[in-house]
Amino acid sequence: MSAEAAVRAPGTAPAEWFTRAVLRNGPLGGLVALVAVMAVLSRDFLHGRNLLNVGVQASVTAVLAFGVTFVIVSAGIDLSVGSVAALSATVTAWAATSQGLPVVAALPLGLAVGVVAGLVSGALVAYGRLPAFIATLAMLSVARGLSLVISGGSPIAFPSALNHLGDTLGGWLPVPVLVTVAMGLLAALVLARTYTGRAMFAIGGNEEAARLSGIDVKRRKLVVYALSGLFAAVAGIVLAARLTSAQPQAATGYELDAIAAVVIGGASLSGGSGKASGTLIGALILAVLRNGLNLLSVSAFWQQVATGLVIAMAVLLDTLRRRSTR
């Protein structure tokens, strides 16, 4: 498709070519356009250090969003990931700092909490036949409440061994970016190559057809939400490492950023489509926008307005793109 755009490029006005390139290349085109605009508007934007900073800012959203991608591809939704991230980090810190467990035990415990939360949501959806919106809305509340209960409402210091996850290697490479890349590759592998990944597309595309073709729909849904919980736990731990403490109110509202990243990345909320690369681009678009607007000293209030507009624009462009290729 991009080859086609390139072939047609000569003879068309640059503006038209630009629009077409954005339309044809979808989210990536949008990211490139946004970066170009920011680079023109702010001299500091393109500095390597700033770009890595964007990567760090995108990391938590991206990891959460990779998990949410699984759920959205299978035509579900997960509103609980922000709370689950906070709960996992809180449990990890509580086990290591308050209870004195070694980090090698506390970390798996924190990850397990994410998986269990996902399994509970998944069981409510698959076996309890609750709408995913409701089941995960309930989990959003429960997980947030539990992290407040466990922490008593105040931050717990994160074990220093784990704080390295928020470090910068060799003075330039931030570990959160590495974690994002690793989780992104894992998500891409799951989606494209594993049985569960292919089943997600089938379930999201047509659940009844999937069931009648021998996909164990209920069990796969459990796995899907458990994966989402696991990714949320990783995101929560990375966030706590950056802040060097687990805060019970951390990551509030991040589930919406994660969903926005998935949708900007080209996935359909009605299921059956989605890519890890698209989700990463979606998270980067959100981070570039925030970083750029910060550099331009745009007020936080107007930043929210801009973010909303970009979400609407991105999905609108994607819809137009799909329609033009139909």
């Binding site: 494209a192 190559r193 594993t194 049985y195 569960t196 990944g197 292919r198 089943a199 597309f201 089938a202 595309g205 047509n206 009844e208 057809a209 999937a210 069931r211 009648l212 073709s213 021998g214 996909i215 164990d216 059956g272 489509s273 290729t325």
Partner: protein, 564 residues
């Protein structure tokens, strides 16, 4: 349907004196990878019923979508009332007096009949509010014309499929349409409803409306049509009078002679493959039950399952495949009892099901063909959690080639294939899963003549290779022609067996006799009693369509009309 065939009027070949309403000239339309239309001409006169005939995928849908403003031609002209026009939107079509009744209705279930008829054009009073009284009065007059006896204030949600269609026609009438396009309007109607529909279409025709009528039922052409335009591979290949012989029409449509309609080649039956004993389930709302069903399918055998709608055939098929549970009885494959309600157990034993509603139950409509073809073998292609996608593509490509699926490539979404090709993909999915007992539920519904014969050939290939086939079908000639034995069900029970191979009227009568006698007291029984076997065959097909189609009509109306 009595009286349909003897309605022969003089001059029905379309005398040249009539005004031309619509002309399509040399229209072409290409979609990515497919040339949907490749030079189509069509001429519609005032006061004629013009049948548009062609296999699935011949371009009928694209053509009528073009006239409805959903697609625009790449080249060629559309002339309405002597002027060349561009139909860019549904509103343009409306202004030009072209109304289209699609197979999937555009009605809003939650609104009343009158609100649907005047949707978006409700009469207003001086305050700008909807003038309900005027609207209902005007709707009542329109309903009178289409002989629909429901109050204009009735919600559309509760109406049957025939009534929904009449509401659509009333809507077209309210627009004062000069050109009415009907896409397979009879596919989901009972004979009685078809007769009413034909009456209304004739009235419209006599009042000067030009009707474009699409149907797969050849006998309807002579009964209702004046002229026929035949499409093949996106081209209009002939314009002939409606009195043209059916064989000739088939030849024009398929491009060759279809000599054997039911090319069943019997293979000697081997060991019992499937044995169902005493299968019982109580009916629930929307799904009839079945009782004490015994049946056997041997290797190399095709066993047909015939009967009226609601006889429980589909339910038995689903229970055998483990989709639904049953309260008593057992299903054995190769002498081993299957766990009830376990699709995967059935699949492991080599059973596959081609479901009744391929779009809702058989396909991932927006997924590429290779994903659809390999869906049922996903497990088998998985090693240590990882799917061998390369092997999957290879297998899918080989199967698509073997089945001669007409596609632009394996990446093409299943939604964009014609009905016959979609069905081939669903069957191919099971062939790739290594099926040994294939259950086909209405395998050729909405499938054109050419693809039908290809599907029958596949059935022959399967049985020649020692597989067994259980075929549920409401098409009596088909189920008799393709089966080695036909079991007849009525009211959830197997009430008799008829030998297959002979699809003549006597055999059809024998099946209907069994089906109707044991379903005594039902409306269908009374209606079909005095008719010939052929008529009765159509009857069962239509009845089935009405039930499933009714639901479909409602959902699609809710989803809007973005299909395709």
């Amino acid at each position: 349907m009595t009286g349909v065939n003897d309605d022969v009027r003089p001059g029905r070949e379309g005398p040249p004196g009539r005004a031309e309403l619509l002309r399509v000239e040399g229209v072409t339309k290409a979609f990515p990878g497919v040339k949907a239309l490749d030079g189509v001409d069509l001429r519609l006169l005032a006061g004629e019923v013009h049948v548009l005939l062609g296999e699935n995928g011949a371009g009928k849908s694209t053509l009528i979508k073009m006239l409805a403003g959903a697609h625009r031609p790449d080249t060629g002209r559309i002339v309405v009332g002597g002027r060349e026009v561009a139909v860019r939107s549904a509103q343009d079509a409306e202004r030009l007096g072209i109304a289209t009744i699609h197979q999937e209705f555009n009605l809003v279930p939650g609104l009343t009949v009158a609100e649907n008829v005047f949707l978006g054009r409700q009469p207003r009073n001086r305050l700008g509010l909807v003038d309900r009284r005027t609207m209902n009065e005007r709707a009542a007059r329109l309903l009178e014309r289409v002989r629909l006896r429901v109050p204009p204030t009735a919600p559309v949600a509760g109406l049957g499929i025939a009534a929904l269609q009449m509401v659509e026609i009333a809507k077209a009438l309210s627009l004062d349409a000069r050109v009415l396009i009907m896409d397979e309007p009879t596919a989901v109607l009972t004979s009685g409803e078809v007769a009413t529909l034909f009456g209304i279409v004739r009235e419209l025709r006599d009042s000067g409306v030009g009707v474009v009528f699409i149907t797969h039922h050849l006998e309807e052409i002579a009964a209702l049509g004046d002229r026929v335009t035949v499409l093949r591979d996106g081209r209009s290949v002939a314009e002939v009078p409606a009195s043209t012989a059916e064989d000739e029409l088939i030849r024009l449509m398929v491009g060759r002679d279809v000599t054997e309609q039911y090319p069943r080649r019997r293979t000697p039956a081997g060991a019992p493959l499937l044995r169902v004993r005493g299968l019982t389930r109580r009916g629930v709302a929307g799904a009839p039950g079945f009782e004490d069903v015994d049946l056997e399918v041997r290797a190399g055998e095709v066993v047909g399952l015939a009967g009226l709608v609601g006889a429980g055939r589909t339910e038995v098929a689903r229970a055998v495949f483990g989709v639904d549970r049953y309260t008593a009885g057992s299903v054995e494959v190769d002498g081993r009892v299957l766990r009830p309600g376990d699709v995967r157990a059935a699949m492991r034993a080599g059973v596959g099901l081609v479901p009744e509603d391929r779009k809702a139950q058989g396909l991932l409509l927006d997924a590429p063909l290779h994903d659809n073809l390999t869906l049922a073998r996903l497990h088998r292609d998985t090693r240590a959690g990882l799917v061998d996608r390369r092997a999957q593509r290879r297998e899918a490509a080989a199967m698509a080639g073997r089945l001669k699926v007409r596609m632009s490539g394996l990446e093409q979404p299943a939604r964009t294939l014609s009905g016959g090709n979609q069905q081939k993909v669903v069957i191919g999915k099971w062939l790739l899963a290594g099926v040994r007992l294939l259950i086909l539920d209405e395998p050729t519904r909405g499938v054109d003549v050419g693809a039908k014969v290809e599907i029958y050939r596949l059935v022959n290939e399967l049985t020649a290779a020692g597989c067994g086939v259980l075929m549920v079908s409401s098409d009596l000639p088909e189920v008799l022609g393709m089966s080695d034995r036909v079991l007849v069900m009525a009211r959830g029970r197997v009430v008799g067996e008829v030998p297959g191979g002979d699809q003549g009227p006597a055999a059809q009568d024998a099946v209907m006799e069994l089906a109707v006698r044991h379903a005594e007291g039902t409306e269908t029984g009374g209606e079909t009693g005095g008719q010939t076997g052929g008529e009765a065959g159509r009857q069962t097909g239509r009845e089935t369509g009405r039930q499933t189609g009714g639901d479909k009509g409602n959902t699609s109306a809710m989803e809007g009309s973005d299909v395709g």
